[in-house]
């Protein structure tokens, strides 16, 4: 009797533990399946009259190097063209951007221990905006490139300015997360004011195109913008996943982190550098896509709890899914920028999750 009670208890604990793990895996699997499904739907919507299974077959075939004869299989040939060159670049960018921004959001929220932090807390977005708007409105380019490429390089360089300022400052003085966030906010206010200044002084049409860049869009993306984003995102996210157990320590607060042997100051700077490069590589192609970076990690935390080893990968897949679904809707039903659609669908979900969260779900707020 005395000996059996603890073991029963243990069994219960182990079962509970397995249940928790299963739940996390389930969310991960659902979101990955959702991503695959949405890629198919996106492909279907770019080419009329093919079925979902045909779409997957064509994608799979293309990857395996299947060629269609234009003479005898002209429909398939066209479908292959459309899907490969129009649907897939968008889908890839959406997945990469969603995953990358969500990973960066998780990183920032843990490192700065602030639920309001997001990839743009350091002013990256406003710097990128400044670069891009300068290219659109004034026609100034930091590089010799003009047009689309000029906007991208401008945005990238602009994005890194606030990050560099913040890193230089935090190397020189001893900053707490709160001061770091405030410095980032001040920098972003400064650049935003420059952007607004340019925007209110320009004519209405240029203002419109600059405004649209600010909201973020996937229109006009081709395979040529994928490689840089792909390499940076994959390497960067691998780093974030690798750092995730240290992130758990960092989110306990500075004192606890130091007692547990983490050099929090250098760790924070490392995270900042990593995050800046990842975010800059994404937003310089797509414009400022908000929402996913701040909300995806919260959604995941409400469901699976705060352990970053799970939160990072799961919020990457949830972020990718969110952005992909938004892009699908943007492409096939509404002619609206993807950022707006995502906020439109995602924020009610987020709202409901917060209000109806339960302790049993792993809720923390």
């Amino acid at each position: 009797m005395d000996t059996s009670a603890p073991s029963e208890d243990n069994d219960g604990l182990i079962r509970e533990y397995h249940r928790q793990i299963a739940k996390k895996m389930l969310l991960l699997i659902i979101s990955v399946a959702g991503i695959i499904l949405t890629v198919g739907l996106l492909s279907v919507s770019t080419f009329d009259g093919i079925s979902l299974s045909q779409a997957y077959k064509i994608i799979w075939g293309h990857i395996n190097g299947v060629e269609y004869d234009y003479g005898t299989q002209s429909r398939l040939w066209w479908a292959d063209r459309y899907i490969w060159n129009r649907a897939l670049p968008r889908a890839t960018v959406a997945i990469l951007a969603g995953a990358s921004l969500a990973a960066c959001g998780t990183l920032m929220q843990s490192v700065l221990s602030n639920p309001l932090a997001d990839p743009y807390s350091t002013g990256i977005s406003s710097g990128a905006c400044f670069g891009a708007v300068a290219a659109i409105i004034v026609g100034i380019s930091f590089s010799s490139m003009a047009g689309e490429a000029g906007i991208v390089t401008n945005a990238f360089i602009g994005a890194l300015i606030p990050a560099i300022i913040l890193i230089v400052i935090s190397e020189r003085i001893n900053v707490t997360p709160a001061t770091m966030i405030l410095i980032g906010t001040a920098i972003s206010y400064f650049f935003n004011s420059m952007v607004t200044f340019m925007m209110v002084t320009t004519d209405a049409d240029t203002l419109k195109s600059a405004y649209l860049w600010q909201i973020g869009t996937f229109d006009g993306l081709t395979w040529s913008s994928v490689p840089i984003m792909f390499v940076v995102t994959v390497l960067g996210s691998a780093c974030v996943v690798w750092l995730s157990s240290k992130l758990n320590v960092a989110s306990l607060g500075d004192n606890a982190a130091i007692s547990l042997g983490l050099d929090i100051k250098n760790f924070r700077i490392l995270c900042l550098i990593l995050m800046s490069i990842m975010t800059a590589a994404v937003i310089s192609f797509t414009g400022i896509i908000g929402f996913v970076g701040i909300v995806a990690p919260h959604i995941v935390r409400i469901v699976v709890g705060t352990d970053n080893r799970f939160v990072v990968p799961i919020s990457m897949s949830v972020g990718a899914l969110l952005l992909l679904v938004a892009d699908y809707i943007a492409l096939s039903y509404a002619d609206l920028p993807v950022g707006v659609i995502m906020a439109l669908i995602g924020s009610p979900i987020f709202f409901i999750l917060i209000v109806w969260q339960r302790k049993s779900m792993g809720a923390i707020y």
Binding site: N114, P115, L116, A117, I169, R172, I173, V175, T176, A178, T179, I181, L182, I183, T185, A186, I187, Y189, F190, N192, S193, M194, T196, F197, M199, V200, T201, A204, D205, L207, K208, Y211, L212, I215, F291, I294, V295, H298, L336, P337, G339, V340, I341, A343, L344, G346, S347, P348, F350, F351, I354, V355, Q357, Y365
Partner: protein, 334 residues
């Protein structure tokens, strides 16, 4: 001491700012016109119009808006125990933005029969209170931590601003520019007509909130400590959030969303006078008022069309704030 100095700066700035603007008149002449008007002996008709009817309300508006936004930010930062909290954290700005966009772009007025500017004002006011009311409502049947409130505010903010953006991207370029300019915010629309409304909204709310300042001190220690010391932290938080939103809504619906001061004003005050609310709240107010009026004066000097005051305050205040943050001896925030 600092509060007194800042108040003096704010008041004297009111008189100095009378001398700046599109109509060319020196500061001393403007003062003469001002005194003439009070004595009822108007000699310079045109000068009198500009100084008394245009610049004085604008200057008083700057003081009022600066003081109340900064005060509101200070209360929010206390309530939420988050340095990123500001008057707009509960979604006041995006609610107001949606209301204004509805009226500017689609011509819809919530109060039937109103058109033009007043429709925009009422739309903005009513919509800006929706998010805060929802948060108050939710907290009636569910206990909310500050973080949950922040996140709820964030969610509502995204809901409203995304709807606003949907309307904006589908708008023609001209009205989009109007709506964009509304969002940037300006003090130029403050007149003798709407100034009294703003004053009556702000003054009582400020007094009520200031009366709570010792309770805020206790809440700053954390909810558990507050409960132990006999303060119902949750109730006071909800109550003060609602008052802050009301105050902010009254400002925003007339001026548009003037940013920066509500977030940064309290931080500067905190760095100089510390966190004790008895001094901190008035210091934040005095700093907000004097900062905004000085910036507005510079905005008027900068050109006939004038830079929006929110833009200029971020341009000047951003680097200044970073400097203050870097130079502070000990972090004012733990």
């Amino acid at each position: 001491m600092l509060i007194l100095i800042l108040t003096a700066v704010a008041i004297s700035s009111v008189f100095i700012t009378l001398g700046f603007g599109v109509y060319n008149i020196s500061v001393s002449d403007a003062l003469a016109v001002f005194i003439d008007h009070i004595n009822g002996t108007v000699s310079n008709k045109k000068g009198d119009y500009y100084v008394w009817n245009v610049r004085l309300p604008r200057a008083l508006g700057a003081i009022l808006v600066g003081a109340s936004l900064s005060f509101a930010g200070a209360v929010m930062q206390n309530d939420m125990r988050n340095p990123l909290a500001e008057p707009y954290t509960m979604g006041v700005s995006s609610g107001a933005f949606l209301g204004a966009v509805l009226s500017i772009i689609l011509g819809i007025s919530i109060i039937p029969g109103l058109t033009g500017d007043w429709a925009t004002v009422f739309n903005a006011f009513i919509f800006s209170l929706i998010p805060a009311s929802m948060i108050v409502l939710i907290s009636r049947f569910r206990k909310m931590t500050p973080t949950a409130m922040i996140l709820t505010g964030l969610a509502l903010m995204f809901v409203f601003s995304s709807i606003g953006q949907v309307i904006m991207v589908s708008a023609p370029a001209e009205t989009l520019a109007d709506a964009y300019n509304w969002r940037v915010g300006t003090l130029a629309k403050v007149t003798w007509e709407n100034l009294p409304i703003m004053v009556t909204a702000v003054v009582p709310l400020c007094l009520i909130l200031y009366a709570l300042s010792s309770k805020f001190d206790v809440m700053y220690l954390g909810d558990r400590a507050a409960t132990t010391l006999g303060v119902n932290a949750n109730l006071i938080r909800i109550f003060s959030i609602f008052l802050v939103s009301l105050m902010t809504a009254a400002m925003v619906s007339f001026t548009g969303t003037i940013g920066f001061i509500g977030l940064v004003g309290p931080h500067v005050a905190r760095i100089f006078v510390g966190s004790r609310n008895k001094y901190f709240l008035p210091a934040a107010m005095a700093f907000g008022a004097s900062f905004l009026i000085i910036v507005d004066t510079i905005a008027k000097i900068s050109g006939p069309s004038g830079l929006p005051v929110g833009v200029l305050s971020a341009m000047i205040g951003g680097p200044l704030f970073i400097y203050i943050l870097v130079r502070q001896k000990r972090s004012a925030w733990a």
